[in-house]
Every structure is written in structure tokens, then in C-alpha cells.
């Protein structure tokens, strides 16, 4: 109980800060003079981006600036769509060693938790949100983890407020993990596929016999009613299935399964995806992967290499970059390090334009939201970042970050700590006051 009241106090404090940060909604912003990257077309030097009432209304070199627009001079700056991190646990893991701040996994039933809606446990007051947003991450996928079928993922804007305010699309994908037999509750890779196939077959059966099921006139199923129901959009190909998997042979098995059941799948992690790049390209299966891991950390990832993302692109595979370096918590505390992944992807063979695409338009394509995100075009949401230079470089700062045309320049907890100890360099042995 005591802990809960502390959290409430913190929530109130954060909420108060948000209210102050909120600018007026109805307005026109004209970002002028910057090097504009629409992503859907070539860069425009000295371009203008107009955002009206939260939506982009014009992008180009010769754009008339509406009367009364708030002008932002971006001369010498780079202007991109807000970055999208396609694999995070933002808001569902606060302190990973503190159990009751971990909400990214469900117990499920027999390692299947298809009904689990991870966003319902999301904490919009997480102190992780502001650092991500301040560094140019405007949209994130929050992905459940664990078991065989982990649950449903959501796509969220990194805005303050409630989870309802944040949700862009939920569910945006179902998540399954097929790399580890033991966490799937089976003994081997082959048995894992049997279990997944049984779930898919039962879902198909359940789908056509709902009335009989409700009358208790069907055979037993491998999963609960809610899990089967949640799987229906997956077997109908309406909801993509993110399959977290590293070994090339497991990716191949996932492709066979997808063909057999006509599933729309996305490979997550995909350490050895480069070995089956042509098959992925032919099946039009996108891959979520990083560019900072070359550690053969287990027998499932012996082929892990930093060139993976670039090699997949060259083979024609759609790639969204995510954090996968293994350390440094790139799924929560360092969601912001997506730009470092993108820079390293370039260092390891990806074109710069492709790297930008991999953190903007490609994730929007994968999650079916190109009508709103991923590019600077008229009609899209006003998720726009003004960078002091090349966004992938360490010296570059995200100077202005707009989500739906608004800025939320919240001071992060990290900033507050830095300010406190920067101002008081000799406080040892004296009480720290603020």
C-alpha cells in the first residue's frame, strides 16, 4: 500500500509537468529552411514543412507559408519524420529487477497467451517516455515477450497523457517466440512447430464452429476460448504475426508455416536472417533487426553479424531497425539508441537513405500505418523532428520534436538529476537541498 501511494504522488508530479508543457493544439507551424527528408522522395534542401492542426499539410521547396503560421527557422538543420522504434517494452518495464514494474509477459495457459493485450498494463507515467521522445522517437511498438505465443503488441505515440491518448493501433501484431523450446514448454524445435500448428488448426476449427463451441459440442482445444478468439485475425491474415527467431533453419520453418496457413508474418530478431535473405524477399516477409550485434551468443545465433540488416536490404527484404545489441536495455531505458543502430547499419553496409527508411517509413509499412506515419507528406500526422545535423551522429541533438503537431519538451528525470548535481558539485557531507 505504501508503495502505491508513492507512485500516485509521482504520477501527479509528472502530470503537473505535462500540463505546463502542453502548447495550444489548433495552430499552423511552418518549419523553414531545413534539409527536409520526406523519405518517400529525395531530400529537399531549404525545404518547408507546414503542419496545420496536427497534420502535415505541405512539404516542398516552394511552399507558401500560411498567414499567422508559427515560423520555425530550421536553416542548417535536418528535418525528418519522427523515428519509429518497432520493438520496445516502453511503459511495460520500468525497473526490470523489480517484479511489479514488469508487465510485458503473461502467464497464459500452457505457454500460450494470445489474448494478452500488453498495452492494458502500460504505465503512461513511466519516466522512460520523455527521454525517448526528447531524442526523436515519436512512435513505438510495445511488444510482449515470453512463452510460445506472447500476446498482442500495440503501436503507440510517445505522448504524455493516458494509454488511450497514446494508442495508434492496438493490436498491431500478434507475437510468437519460436527460438527456445523450453520457454515454449516443449522439448525440441520440431515439437515447438507441432504445438504452434495445433494452435493454428484449432483456431481454424474454432472459427467455423463458434455456435457448437458455445453449446459445448466441440472437441477439446489446445488453447482457451479467449486465446483462440485472439488468434482468428492471425489465421485470417488480418493481423501480422511477429515471430521472434534467430536461427536460419527456424526462420525457414516459420516461412513454411506461414505458407501453409497463409499467415502474414514478420521476423523479429532474425540473427541469421541473412542466410535466408532470398527466401524472405520472395515471401515478402519483413525483418525487425539491429546492426550492433555480432556475438554468437548461443547455438541459435552463431551467424549473428552486423551486416545482417544491410545484406537483407540488398536482397530486397523490408527491414525495420530495432535495438539488439544485447546490453544497455535498448527496449526501454535506451529506446533512444535507435539512431545508433541506424548509424551502425550504415557503417556495416546499408545506404544512409535505407537506414533512415528503416526507422521511419518501413516500420510504418510493416504496421500498416503509412497513411499516418513514416514520411513527410501532406495528410500525414505531424510527427516531425528537427535535428541539429545528421540524426545518426552522436553530436547531433533532436532540437524540436513534434507529435501530432505538438511539442512536449518535458524535463526528464535524468535531466533533473544532472541539473541537481551540476549545480551542487560539492555536496558530499552536506545535505542536498532543492
Amino acid at each position: 500500500m505504501k508503495k502505491r501511494s508513492h507512485q500516485s504522488i509521482r504520477s501527479l508530479a509528472v502530470a503537473a509537468a505535462i500540463v505546463i508543457a502542453m502548447p495550444a493544439a489548433a495552430q499552423t507551424i511552418a518549419i523553414t529552411g531545413g534539409r527536409v527528408f520526406p523519405v518517400t522522395g529525395p531530400a529537399i534542401d531549404g525545404g518547408t514543412v507546414i503542419v496545420t492542426n496536427g497534420k502535415i499539410t505541405a512539404v516542398g521547396a516552394n511552399v507558401a507559408i500560411p498567414a499567422g503560421a508559427q515560423r520555425i527557422d530550421a536553416t542548417g538543420k535536418w528535418v525528418t519524420p519522427g523515428f519509429i522504434n518497432s520493438s520496445t517494452q516502453l511503459g511495460v518495464v520500468e525497473v526490470s529487477a523489480v517484479t511489479n514494474t514488469r508487465d510485458m509477459s503473461a502467464r497464459g495457459k500452457d505457454n500460450i497467451a494470445a489474448a494478452f493485450t500488453v498495452w492494458d498494463g502500460l504505465n503512461p507515467n513511466s519516466v522512460m517516455l520523455a527521454p525517448a521522445r526528447n531524442e526523436g522517437i515519436t512512435t513505438v511498438a510495445v511488444i510482449p515477450a515470453g512463452g510460445l505465443v506472447s500476446g498482442q503488441a500495440a503501436l503507440l505515440n510517445v505522448v504524455p497523457g493516458t494509454t488511450t491518448d497514446m494508442i495508434v493501433k492496438a493490436p498491431v501484431a500478434m507475437v510468437a517466440e519460436i527460438g527456445d523450446a523450453s520457454s515454449a514448454g516443449v522439448s525440441s524445435r520440431g515439437e515447438l512447430m507441432v504445438k504452434l500448428r495445433e494452435l493454428l488448426e484449432d483456431t481454424r476449427y474454432f472459427q467455423t464452429r463458434r455456435a457448437a463451441y458455445d453449446r459445448a459440442e466441440t472437441r477439446d482445444f489446445a488453447a482457451s476460448r479467449l486465446d483462440l478468439q485472439a488468434m482468428i485475425p492471425v489465421i485470417e491474415g488480418r493481423l501480422p504475426l511477429i515471430i521472434t527467431v534467430d536461427r536460419a533453419s527456424d526462420i525457414d520453418a516459420a516461412l513454411r508455416l506461414a505458407r501453409e496457413f497463409n499467415l502474414k508474418i514478420i521476423i523479429g530478431g532474425g540473427a541469421e536472417a541473412w542466410m535466408v535473405a532470398d527466401r524472405l524477399a520472395a515471401a515478402r516477409v519483413p525483418v525487425l533487426t539491429g546492426a550492433m550485434n555480432n556475438i554468437p551468443g548461443g547455438f541459435s545465433a552463431l551467424g549473428q553479424r552486423q551486416e545482417n540488416a544491410a545484406m537483407l536490404r540488398r536482397a530486397g527484404v523490408s527491414v525495420a531497425l530495432i535495438g539488439n545489441a544485447g546490453g544497455g536495455d535498448e527496449e526501454a531505458f535506451n529506446v533512444r539508441n535507435l539512431k545508433q543502430e541506424a548509424g551502425n547499419a550504415v557503417a556495416y553496409g546499408m545506404s544512409w537513405d535505407d537506414a533512415l527508411r528503416s526507422v521511419t517509413l518501413t516500420p510504418a509499412e510493416i504496421f500498416g500505418v503509412t497513411d499516418r506515419f513514416g514520411s513527410l507528406q501532406a495528410g500525414r500526422d505531424g510527427n516531425v523532428v528537427i535535428w541539429s545535423g545528421d540524426p545518426f551522429e552522436f553530436t547531433t541533438r533532436a532540437e524540436r520534436v513534434f507529435i501530432g503537431g505538438r511539442e512536449y519538451p518535458e524535463m526528464t528525470r535524468q535531466d533533473m538529476l544532472t541539473e541537481r548535481y551540476k549545480a551542487l558539485p560539492n555536496t558530499y557531507n552536506t545535505p542536498v537541498r532543492r
Partner: protein
């Protein structure tokens, strides 16, 4: 140094029980570059039972010119040159003489730095592929295990080693894990192919000893104790009390050599060497308040902490670290994964550096270790953003000369100056850029990695057949 410690201390009991300074310590042999007695193990009877057998690889005199050189000992030399000869740096400056037969590398626009040094590695003791069979980093059978030595766990065929070398890392301190209050001895390795760990050991490097504060020991030993932070502190102090008595017995016997020597105890041998100042303390510790307590314990028993590792709250007592001459081996931006890591800030290194304490970027991670200049770049940018100016010349020290100091090798490695070991990295561009990669890496003047020459890319025994490609294509 110890006298100063006494003056600072309030309690006289602590001073009375303080070990007498180095007069009691037997003379220490200093090894040459091809092995011999390690500094840290020179006190009888435990002289150097596992001596280095490292022999430098064949090297040709090499000139790298037309490059921008971060020396870690002064300002960036633009369009400069460096000469490597007989395993040493013999000249560095705007230009150097080219000896007959020297390999000349024209590095137009590229950058040269000292070999990168990672003072917090678990390569070899937590190798890849992971799993119980090769998990040899934590002797978590007892909270106090000063008797174990990390080198006895190192697997020289760990495929993480060649990846580290390709990341520009030339020297590693491999530490035991942080499960224990006292985790055992570290070992300093050159990142070179070898059939044995002895063949990787840095000749003459002294040993370090790992200690750990806070959550890890109390979590691992919750059932048998220590289960609390106060239990942790009691555990350290109990160990030092026993070690001090042991050191006195042995130092006395070493001085008069009368009668049978006292019984040996492996753990106390290591602890006694710490008390004699021959082994450096590397103390895993996150929180500022705990670091302050560890400093008090070090004063109670008369040893020095060489570096706090992880130190996510080092910025909160950077002034104290500076005053005590203790360095901070830190991450650029790891945090929040447990309560004691909650207050991580990216300006940590900049704040510690500004206060006058040595700041080090360490990795504790086989991936991060390959990109220590990128990590330094993030920490530098965070400092600059917070109004604490950090230059690239400062930041390069965080991954070179400063970590060299923490392992007592700053007289031999860590900067590009005439007379120092020729551990050198040629980068494709500014090492603080996300787009730059090491192209060539020399250790003791020998070219051991070349990004564009597969024949110069070490592959471990393990990788043969299992990892079916050459890296860096």
C-alpha cells in the same frame, strides 16, 4: 599515501591496525616484455605461479602518415605521422623519418588512436556461446572468494576475443563476476590469439581484485547471507580482519625467515597483497552512499580502491572520488535495470571528469566493448548538452590512458608517445563518429587485424565450421 589516509581518519583504532607501509614488502621484481614475475604476485610465497608466456607477434617497422592522431597525451595532431619499431612507438608528430624497409601506410583523412583498453570485461570467463558449460565468471558458492583467479576460467577460444580486437581493443582486464562480496583476482590480457591464457597475459601486469556492493551479493546469498547491505559490509570487514592478521604473520616471517613459514591460505594471500598495495581493487558499486562506505572500509584496513566500476551515481560524489584519487569506470548510458541503477545519467562521465577524477568508459559487455569510442561519444555529447564542455582530446582518454591507469599500465600503454608499446588503431574516420570503424589494429607493433584482409582476421578454433563466414565483408 597511507600516512595521508591516517590523517584523514578520525578513529585511531583504524590507524593502529593499519598495515605498515611498503618497508615490510619484499622487493618486487619487474618483468621484461617477454614474461617473468608479475608485479602483483611478487610477494613470497605466491610469486607468479602462472607466468605470462606471451611473445610479441612478428612485426615490421611501420609508418602511418597523413593521419589525424589522438595521442591521449596532448592535442590532436592533424595530418601527422607515427613510427612503430621493435614493438614500440619510436616517433609521433607532424612527420617522422621512414626507416629503410618500413611499411608505409598513407592514411589520408583517417584517424589513429592508442589501442582501446577495456578494464571491465568478462571475455573468456563468460564466453559465447553462453550456457552453463562455459559459464565460469562467478564462483557463487561463497560470498567471499578471494582465492579464485579469473584466468583459470578464461577460454582462449572464446569467439568474442577476435570481435573485440576488430573493435580496436588491444588490452582487457577480465574480472570475475559480481555475485560475491569479494569475487577473486582479475587478469590483464592482450587481445591476441593463443592456445593458452598464459599466452595472452600482459607480461608484468599486476593483478586486480574484484569486490561488489549492493544488490547482487545480497540477492545471490539471500538464503544463507548476506541478505542485506549491512550484511555485505560485515562480510567485507570480516575478510579484511582475517587478511590483516595473515599479512602480519607472513610479513614478519618474510623479514626474519626463522622457523617454518606460516600456513598458506590462497584467499588471504590475495587479500594480503591488496593490503601491501600490490593488487588493485576494482569495486563494483552503483550508489553514491555505498561508494562512500566502501571508501571508509578501505581506510579502516589501509588499502586503496583503484576504481569504482559501474558507478551510475559517481556524479553525486565526484568531488570525493577526485579527492581520494579513485577513478570511475562507467557506462555512457546503462541504467534503470535495477533499483541501484535507477539514477543513471548520461552526463556521468563528464561530471566525474570535470570534478578532477579519472573517468573511464568500461563495457561489462562483449558488444559494447567493441564500440567504446561510440560510448564515449555519447557521454561527451551528453556533457556538452548539459553545459559541461568535453573535448575529443579528453574523451579519448576515457578509453585509453585512464583505463590504463586503473590497471597500473599507464607507463606502457594508453597513449601514443615515444617509448610506449606500439598498440595502435587506424580508424576509417573520426573514432567518435558512428560511421567510423577500425581498419587496422597493431599490438606491440605487429599488425593483428586488417578489415580488408581476411588473412589478418583471427578466427578462433570454435568458429571453424560453426560460423560459416569471414567477418567484415
Amino acid at each position: 599515501m597511507r600516512a595521508l589516509v591516517c590523517m584523514v581518519l578520525v578513529g585511531t583504532m583504524a590507524c593502529a591496525s593499519r598495515p605498515v607501509p611498503s618497508t615490510n614488502t619484499p622487493p618486487r621484481a619487474r618483468s621484461d616484455s617477454t614474461g617473468g614475475v608479475g608485479l602483483g604476485a611478487a610477494s613470497f610465497p605466491n610469486a607468479d605461479p602462472f607466468p605470462s608466456s606471451y611473445v610479441p607477434f612478428p612485426a615490421r617497422p611501420t609508418v602511418i602518415r597523413g593521419v589525424n592522431i589522438f595521442t591521449a597525451a596532448g592535442p590532436l595532431i592533424r595530418n601527422g605521422a607515427i613510427l612503430l619499431q621493435n614493438g614500440k612507438i619510436t616517433a609521433v608528430g607532424q612527420s617522422v623519418d621512414v626507416p629503410a624497409g618500413a611499411v608505409v601506410i598513407e592514411g589520408a583523412g583517417k584517424y589513429v588512436t592508442p589501442g582501446i583498453i577495456d578494464n571491465h570485461s568478462h571475455l573468456g570467463v563468460y564466453p559465447s556461446p553462453g550456457g552453463n558449460a562455459l559459464s565460469d565468471g562467478n564462483e557463487s558458492t561463497n560470498p567471499t572468494t578471494p582465492h579464485v583467479w579469473a584466468e583459470h576460467s578464461v577460454w582462449p577460444q572464446d569467439p568474442q576475443f577476435p570481435r573485440n580486437l576488430a573493435g580496436g581493443v588491444t588490452t582487457l582486464q577480465v574480472l570475475p563476476g559480481s555475485a560475491n562480496l569479494i569475487g577473486g583476482r582479475s587478469v590483464v590480457l592482450k587481445v591476441v590469439p593463443s592456445r593458452t591464457v598464459q599466452g595472452m597475459k600482459f607480461p608484468g601486469a599486476r593483478y586486480g581484485m574484484k569486490m561488489a556492493c549492493g544488490e547482487n551479493p545480497k540477492r545471490v546469498y539471500a538464503g544463507r547471507g548476506p541478505a542485506t547491505r549491512m550484511g555485505n559490509v560485515a562480510g567485507y570487514r570480516a575478510a579484511w580482519i582475517g587478511a590483516e592478521a595473515y599479512r602480519r604473520r607472513w610479513d614478519k616471517w618474510n623479514a626474519d625467515r626463522k622457523g617454518d613459514p606460516p600456513a598458506r591460505d590462497l584467499g588471504n594471500e590475495t587479500l594480503a597483497e591488496v593490503l601491501r598495495g600490490n593488487i588493485f581493487i576494482h569495486n563494483h558499486c552503483y550508489r553514491a552512499d555505498e561508494m562512500a562506505q566502501m571508501i571508509d572500509i578501505s581506510k579502516e584496513f589501509g588499502y586503496k580502491i583503484r576504481s569504482f566500476h559501474h558507478g551510475v551515481e559517481a556524479y553525486k560524489l565526484a568531488d570525493l572520488l577526485a579527492r581520494e584519487g579513485i577513478s570511475g569506470s562507467l557506462w555512457s548510458d546503462w541504467g534503470s535495470f535495477k533499483m541501484e541503477a535507477l539514477d543513471a545519467v548520461r552526463a556521468n562521465l563528464a561530471l566525474v571528469d570535470r570534478a578532477g577524477a579519472r573517468a573511464i568508459v568500461h563495457s561489462d559487455d562483449p558488444s559494447g566493448s567493441q564500440r567504446l569510442t561510440q560510448e564515449a561519444a555519447k557521454a561527451m555529447a551528453a556533457g556538452n548538452a548539459a553545459g559541461i564542455p568535453v573535448t575529443e582530446e579528453q574523451a579519448i582518454k576515457w578509453v585509453t590512458i585512464n583505463p590504463a591507469w586503473t590497471i597500473g599500465l599507464d607507463d606502457r600503454i594508453g597513449s601514443l608517445e615515444a617509448g610506449k608499446n606500439a598498440d595502435v588503431v587506424l580508424w576509417s574516420g573520426n573514432p567518435f563518429s558512428v560511421y567510423s570503424r577500425p581498419e587496422k589494429v597493431w599490438i606491440d607493433g605487429a599488425l593483428l587485424y586488417d578489415r580488408f584482409d581476411p588473412a589478418q582476421q583471427w578466427r578462433t578454433d570454435f568458429e571453424l565450421g560453426f560460423v560459416p563466414f569471414a567477418r567484415n565483408q
